[in-house]
Amino acid sequence: MSEVLNVEQVLEKLKNTLGDAMLSYEIREYTMGVKRQRKLYEIWAEIDKDAFRKAVETIFAIDYPHLHFITGEDTGGEVIKMIYSFGIFHTRPWGEISITLKFDLPKSNLILPTITDLMMGAETNEREIREMLGVEFDGLKNKRHLFLPDDWPEGKYPWRRDEYGVEDMIKHTHKSVKEIRKERGESG
């Protein structure tokens, strides 16, 4: 087991390894509890996309993390905002520090290094992001569709808010009884 660090120390380590690639950072604290209030800490950092892999490796070096999620936001512009969230020092009461890394990935070059070599379980997440947002993961072995069928049309990504989106595939299931009654000839 690695040494337990507090939130500042963790941030310090990240800053040290990333240097200028750390664009902005913030420690958020939340107070929990009614009778005995205590604090929880989260690190939110915005980084350069090229430093992503290094940042993740740093986290793995601090403590084997628990991957919360990987997601991305397509704001409709030229970039996809990627969000990676890890929890470290979980398994310790009040000890989990959540680290969230955000960075912009230009739509012209949607490629990221995989983290499945560090954590097998991230495969599900990466495959999901790959099919949902069209982000390629370099080194991801299993590239079969996870949720989408194998014959999913090329270039359709459900979470995209641009021309690659699925807006045209929506089906509204509710029908008004007005039409139904007309069809059945029940009302005048």
Binding site: H174, V177, K178, I180, R181
Partner: protein, 152 residues
Amino acid sequence: MPTKVMFLILKQLLEKPFTNPFPVKHAPKNVTELIEKVQKGEVQINPPVPVPEGFRGKLHYDPERCIGCRLCIMVCPADAMEWVPELKKIRHYVSRCMFCALCVDVCPGKKFPGEEKAVKALSMSEEFLLADYDKYSDNLIEEPPEAKEKGI
């Protein structure tokens, strides 16, 4: 090999079954006849497990009380309310509802003259035996009566 389960089930054998024999104990020979008899009061039907106070059953809509504020439509997660513009009232589809009662919470309702407080146009009833052959049957749609008559 006697196991604990064996003792357990032997004990259960001696106890009364836990089953609530709703509506009758076994499949009747003829349901139509049975229902006739029940209506005549010759046979009693075993009631279902009673619902508690505050049970969220089928939504009841009282168009008289509705002021057409459309708040219910705003909060309804299931799109179960339909705006009837001609009447400035709503139509509720039981077969779309998810019985969350959010609409009941937000409904302001109307105060009739002589009443102290406004009464909501929407309320949750205790009715939950809703099986039907047609999802658009009258029982599964709550609306102002004239909506159906006029086909709007």
